[in-house]
């Protein structure tokens, strides 16, 4: 099997640009549905033993507590999930009491999370810091890692393309989460942020491994053109890239299907990011090296 990556690179560019474009649009149009980790608020879930009351019944029963807007969602087979503003412990107990009147609640099945505005702000702040630092570290790493290759493409080009691939790998899942948030009420929570941070590392890792191959082949193979070296490197890395992401995807799908609610969307974010990371390192980042070189050469010819 030999895939002509370079020949068809424009098709891959168009696919990626379209997907990134759509994602950016959906992020702007739908916005990100941030969870109570960041906005502050309360989340209560519990499981009923037999019949689950309808959301209408639940909202009706809580009316007297004046909770403002209460979002009721089903959770698994017999569970319900309530989201509302940040409430006191007293109100929490009253809600439990009301919910207990609607049906037999499974003992020990409830969870409750209440995050005041102060903590919400703090978590937001902390998350911003972690994201910025992770990006900074990645940048430094790329600069360090590719400092020694320079022919025929300058080392910063490797850094730049892997960074482009990183944005591609993060923006598309983020766009998908914007859509999921708008239409299915799925929120961006700390687990999902964690997944995105992991994608940072993984996406760069993927590009770096293919680039390492290009670097090695530049020194060893002495192919007549850069295009050929790149394409050969891509084909050599193909099995490795696919197998590695496959094994990782296996465990992630296992978590997605069997791992329970908390880890479900965490694993979905990782599945998207890792799938895209593999795609982008093969079909986007590496062919971009060739495009950069072509662009440079064309400009050089024009000038002389």
């Amino acid at each position: 099997m030999y895939i002509p990556f370079i020949k068809h690179r424009r098709i891959f560019y168009i696919i990626s640009i379209t997907l990134v474009g759509l994602s950016v649009v959906s992020i702007f149009v739908f916005g990100l549905n941030l969870g109570i980790d960041f906005t502050g608020g309360s989340m209560l879930s519990l499981t009923y033993q037999n019949q689950v009351p309808s959301s209408l019944e639940i909202r009706e029963s809580l009316k007297e507590l004046e909770l403002g807007e209460v979002v009721v969602q089903p959770l698994g087979e017999k569970g319900v999930l309530l989201r509302m503003r940040d409430i006191s412990e007293e109100t929490h107990q009253k809600i439990l009491e009301e919910l207990g009147k609607l049906g037999e609640v499974e003992e020990g099945s409830e969870s409750f999370q209440s995050i005041g505005p102060v903590i919400g702000r703090e978590l937001t702040q902390k998350t911003k810091i972690v994201i910025s630092l992770a990006l900074l570290a990645i940048l430094l790493y790329i600069a360090f890692s590719f400092r020694r290759i320079s022919r025929p493409v300058k080392s910063y080009v490797y850094g730049l393309t892997s960074l482009l691939a990183l944005f591609h790998d993060v923006l598309i899942p983020l766009g998908i989460f914007a859509i999921l948030g708008r239409f299915y009420g799925i929120e961006i929570t700390i687990p999902i942020i964690t997944a995105f941070l992991t994608i940072f590392g993984y996406s760069i890792n993927d590009s770096v491994v293919v680039f390492d191959r290009v670097r090695e082949n530049l020194l060893r193979l002495r192919e007549p053109t850069f295009d050929l070296t790149v394409e050969k490197s891509l084909n050599q890395s193909l099995t490795r890239s696919l197998n590695t992401s496959l094994t990782t995807l296996f465990v992630l799908f296992a978590i997605f299907l069997f791992g329970g609610e908390t880890l479900k969307y965490f694993s979905l974010a990782l599945i998207l990011g890792i799938g895209l990371g593999t795609y982008s390192s093969l079909f986007l980042a590496t062919p971009l090296l060739v495009s950069f070189l072509r662009f440079k050469e064309r400009r050089y010819r024009k000038e002389s």
Partner: protein, 431 residues
């Protein structure tokens, strides 16, 4: 096989043995006890302790309280927080929580108390126990609004409270006895306010405001008020458990029911096992004997990882289990890189032994670089992240480090032990 390979193989086997028995020490310890009882040996036993589970897996509650230090003098905040911590610890212990964790947290703007109560069933009651502690305070009378001003004398200086009955009216009353410091403050306070009223507030509610007739040097005060006997009893009990030196407010709560925690644990473990088996199957199908060796090393990897979680110990949360499972998928990466290189070398006519050595040599830069990016991000997540992110980063980092060891040392040792054997020659076995 060379001597060096023999030695490596023995190291691997010993490691696997130690890891396995650290994870499940029951059987080996029975054996050790048996040997010890039959001989004069006294062999050490493997430590028998369970995995340390986070609140989200064993159930429990995590509470964040904001301390109101506005009435505490500058420079004495630390001491007040320490006092608060001690009082709440006493209260929590009274409630019978096993291994509670109470920490003071200082942020830029305020000071907080983090309270972790594992395995608590009656969370509402526990919170009431902590938060509803009476905040006792003495206030001085002034002419204009709000008529009473706070003084330094608070529940912090209380030595003990006692239930008593008025000799003539038989009304329930509470006798307060201050410690030596409180006695001085109370003496000054009463001396300053002869002929005026001193108000006793509990939780910002005026309970009684007796008129001071003369300075009281004894450090004893009594609260008479409209108590029923029950109310007076409860007040005495609560005051004795420790009146809070500063008022607190619950600003965040995260509670997981014990059953829910158990379900989460079961589900995530199930996911982990399924994922693990899928990876093993895939590796064996794709890389044949190499795959079997990789699977074997993955099992050792899992054993070492679990043993470390137990021995360090690492508190396992849902995030942590997620990180550990993910690291299994990533751990295989190093093996894939190496095996692919070996295949290439063999295609170009290299013998088995040479393909092993060159395969490892060529794959090393990629393995190093690839894992380094993930490790860097994990390190940042650990240093600056919130608790979920931290739990994930810890197990992921452990996983990555051990996976490198497993790929570079364990798998290499296994492969080397086939050099010079008949199996080495059978091409299809190696994929």
């Amino acid at each position: 096989m060379k001597h060096k390979t023999y030695l490596s193989l023995i190291i691997v086997i010993v490691l696997a043995f130690l890891a396995l028995n650290s994870v499940e020490p029951k059987y080996i310890n029975q054996g050790i006890s048996f040997v010890n009882s039959k001989t004069f040996l006294s062999l050490p036993r493997f430590p028998e302790k369970p995995f340390r589970l986070g609140l989200d897996l064993q159930g429990g509650t995590h509470l964040v309280y904001l301390a109101d230090l506005s009435k505490i003098d500058k420079g004495e905040e630390g001491e007040a927080m320490q006092g608060l911590r001690d009082v709440i610890e006493r209260r929590v212990n009274l409630f019978g929580v096993v291994e509670p964790k109470i920490q003071i947290q200082q942020t830029r703007e305020d000071r907080r108390l983090l309270v972790e109560l594992p395995g608590v069933k009656e969370v509402g009651e526990a919170i009431q126990m902590i938060g509803k502690t009476p905040y006792l305070e003495f206030r001085e009378e002034i002419e204009e609004e709000p008529y009473f001003l706070p003084t330094k004398l608070t529940g912090q200086y209380l030595k003990r409270a006692q239930l008593d009955f008025n000799q003539t009216t038989f009304e329930a009353q509470v006798i307060l006895e201050f410690d030596s410091e409180g006695r001085e403050i109370f003496k000054d306070l009463t001396a300053r306010n002869v002929g005026k009223r001193i108000a006793i507030f509990i939780d910002d509610v005026l309970i009684s405001a007796p008129v001071v007739r003369e300075p009281i040097p004894s450090g004893k005060a009594q609260i008479t008020g409209r108590f029923t006997i029950e109310e007076a009893k409860e007040l005495v009990r609560n005051l004795n458990a420790g009146a809070l030196p500063v008022p607190i407010k619950l600003i965040s709560q995260d509670t997981v029911g014990p059953v829910l925690g158990k379900i989460s644990l079961e589900k995530s473990l199930k996911a982990g096992i399924i994922g693990f088996l899928l990876v093993l199957l895939f590796m064996i199908a794709f890389y044949r004997v190499s795959g079997v060796l990789a699977s074997l090393s993955l099992l050792i990897y899992a054993g070492i990882l679990l043993a470390l979680f137990k021995l360090v110990p690492v508190t396992l949360t849902l995030a942590g289990i997620g990180g550990a499972i993910l690291s299994v998928g990533m751990a295989v990466d190093a093996n894939v890189l190496i095996f692919e290189r070996m295949k290439e070398e063999r295609k170009q006519g290299a013998g088995f032994s040479r393909s092993v050595e060159i395969g490892f040599f060529r794959a090393w830069p990629s393995i190093r670089d690839g894992n380094l990016t993930t490790l860097i991000v994990a390190l940042i997540m650990f240093s600056f992240g919130t608790s979920f992110i931290k739990g994930f980063a810890v197990t992921l980092s452990f996983g990555i480090l051990i996976s490198m060891f497993s790929a570079l040392f364990v798998v290499r040792t296994f492969l080397r032990s086939f050099i010079g054997t008949k199996i080495e020659k059978i091409k299809w076995l190696w994929g």
